[in-house]
Symmetry: C2
Subunit: 399 residues, 2 copies
């Protein structure tokens, strides 16, 4: 099946004209913005031109349907408030090109999707979450963005596009191409990453409480300094995790809030986020134990109390062996020796779709690992390589 | 000279009726609030009744002047937004009682002062800063509080009280009694602390800048995490200071701000306050070198850049040997074996007054080390001990 890299790149660049930031190739196309809705209308036209049947559900997920049972491919075309041109758009346009060629050449039945609000104006992966039945639209409708606009209000902007519900039963599986959004492929000068699993995430808000005091009059040995607790916890945790983690395990303290957060006051309270991700559920559990034990030990040793908030849990999502195998063979054909198997550290729509059907994912490099920024980019040769792997895989899956 | 502990305590309790919080003995009496102005008017009356000549300068500092050259005593009667009943009020009322008895008994000439805005609604130690000539009233007039009210606006509330400038040349020295606001005396079950010096302070805002990244897709060895920089700096600094500091040296990271401060994003920037205090200027300088070297080493090792903001410097203020000696002999007479020499870790009006004349300070214990809170308190026996030491000292100084 011979895809057209020219047509693919032309569509990809045309899509970035919707919400073009004027800075590099960046786009400003958050879910339900005028630019996002215009892009979705343009997609409906492109799907129609490709011989697919356009369909839009109440959430604003836009499908281009092949006749009968089909393989679903795609990603999302909404962007971060300051986003890159590729992110989810790449997966949608690559799917469009593969589906179009398949239609033109009598190839396999390929349907295309652009999920809505993957970037989380109203939560996170909102469109695929609702479509997969994980979230209830009536409930999510009440969620408001930072400006107080609810999803229900925002959805009124696409009311004229909605055709009805799209039955997941018609799809045999889902394949999503995406940029890596990390440095692994770029640093290794590789073109393709075949995703083994989307890693699971755990996150616990932790608060140390000590004694707020005057920073001039309180001697060091009498202090119960909550920030010192965070620092000691962090240092000890880094040491202890060393023997438990793999090179792909990640852990992050990204949010810290001291109280009263004043230079002349010994912090009486320090709240922070403790997040970790790994592809193995058992390792996630072992790390949780170390996090809790370490925080309790540090609190005990320093006269602090420790409070653990509710843990946010997201299980690892395994990729389907058959779909993944087809992608691996495609990768070896297109980029021999220049591809790898790797976990996805980021969440993707495939996480939600996996509730309904077999899924697989493919990565192409992000230059400098940069994403969610106007500077986000990928070598066009790598974009085309990703497209070609998809085409190889769907052909093989159809054999 | 026989002071009256009953009259002293009655005045002290009456003063706390101005702005009484209704929670414990707490007061809400920030500078230029209705309660503060009412309290200052009450002080003018008390000074008059004591045979002193009341005088109020444009800043709202309220004096009760003895005739001719005199020793000045006092502190401040404004409070924190949620303050304790003693803080500066103790020093003002103790000075009033000593001056009153001196007047009644033909003792030494004692003048009394309540400085305005020690607690810093418009800066910090504002009243004594302006009176000592360290700050220019016209400049400070433009400073606004958190609600946008300028000092100039606030001062209009006391315009009818102002009598004119008060010449510092009439005072032979300044003695300030204050609560310790720390745990040292309370923990040692001692009644009196004679201040050796008001410690110097250094504070540098420090910023580590790394690379903001996705907390799921950025492998640990590729991260340049600014929060990890702060934690590593803190750990290393604590180790290195161990051989440099004395038991009274203190250092604090009280303010931390991460950017973007989100649980799923590797912090790209971390700004924090690094403050240290010590009575010895040379030690302050050595610590500064260690702070700067350590931050630079940590930045270098972790691929971060480090930025040092302008350093805030306040030199240590030595207490006058003669005044301090009189307080020490008074302490030994009133509380034999239950007093100590100690530095003041907090700033006080005496720091500013020292620009004009010899100064000395006396502490009484703070129960549990608590201050700047409604719970602030001191055993009444200790309050009276402080009053008696002042009386002993002024008598001795007059001999």
């Amino acid at each position: 099946m011979k895809v057209s890299s020219e047509r693919f790149l032309r569509d990809l660049h045309e899509l970035r004209s919707f919400g073009a930031s004027g800075i590099g190739k960046g786009v400003v196309r958050p879910a339900f913005s005028d630019a996002d809705i215009a892009a979705r209308k343009w997609l409906v036209g492109r799907f129609t031109d490709a011989g697919l049947t356009p369909a839009v559900d109440a959430m604003g997920n836009v499908f281009g349907l092949a006749d009968g049972p089909s393989l679903l491919m795609g990603s999302h075309s909404d962007s971060q408030p300051e986003g890159g041109w590729l992110d989810g758009a790449l997966g949608v346009i690559a799917a469009l090109e593969v589906a179009r060629v398949a239609k033109e050449t009598g190839g396999p039945a390929i349907s295309v999707v652009s999920f809505q609000d993957e970037e989380g104006r109203f939560g996170g992966l909102t469109g695929s979450s609702v479509w997969s039945g994980y979230s209830d639209l009536a409930e999510v409708d009440a969620v408001a963005d930072y400006d107080g606009v609810t999803l229900k209000d925002a959805r009124s902007g696409i009311a004229d596009m909605v055709t009805g519900e799209i039955d997941p039963g018609q799809f045999k599986g889902f394949v999503e191409l995406h940029i890596e959004q990390g440095l692994t492929l770029d640093a290794a000068d590789e073109q393709i990453g075949v995703v083994t699993e989307i890693v699971g995430t755990r996150e616990i808000p932790i608060t140390f409480t000590g004694q707020q005091n005057h920073a001039g009059t309180t001697q060091m040995h009498l202090r119960r300094d909550a920030f010192q607790g965070v620092s000691a916890f962090n240092t000890l945790l880094n040491e202890r995790l060393r023997n438990v983690v793999t090179p792909t395990t990640v852990w992050t303290i990204g949010h810290v809030a001291l109280h009263p957060n004043a230079s002349s006051i010994v912090p009486g309270k320090a709240s922070f986020s403790m997040q970790w991700r790994d592809g193995d559920a058992e390792r996630l559990r072992r790390i949780e134990q170390i996090v809790r034990d370490t925080a309790e030990e540090v609190a005990e040793a320093r006269g602090l109390t420790v409070y653990f908030g509710p843990m946010w849990e997201l299980e690892p999502t395994a990729m389907d062996a058959r779909l993944r195998g087809a992608l691996e063979r495609g990768a070896e054909a297109v980029a021999p020796g220049r591809w790898r198997r790797m976990p996805s550290g980021a969440l993707h729509d495939a996480t939600n779709v996996a509730r309904l059907m077999p899924v697989a994912m493919l990565f192409v490099p992000s230059i400098g690992g940069i994403s969610h920024a106007f500077e986000e980019d990928t070598d066009e040769a790598d974009l085309v390589a990703g497209l070609q792997v998809l085409a190889e895989a769907v052909t093989a899956l159809n054999d």
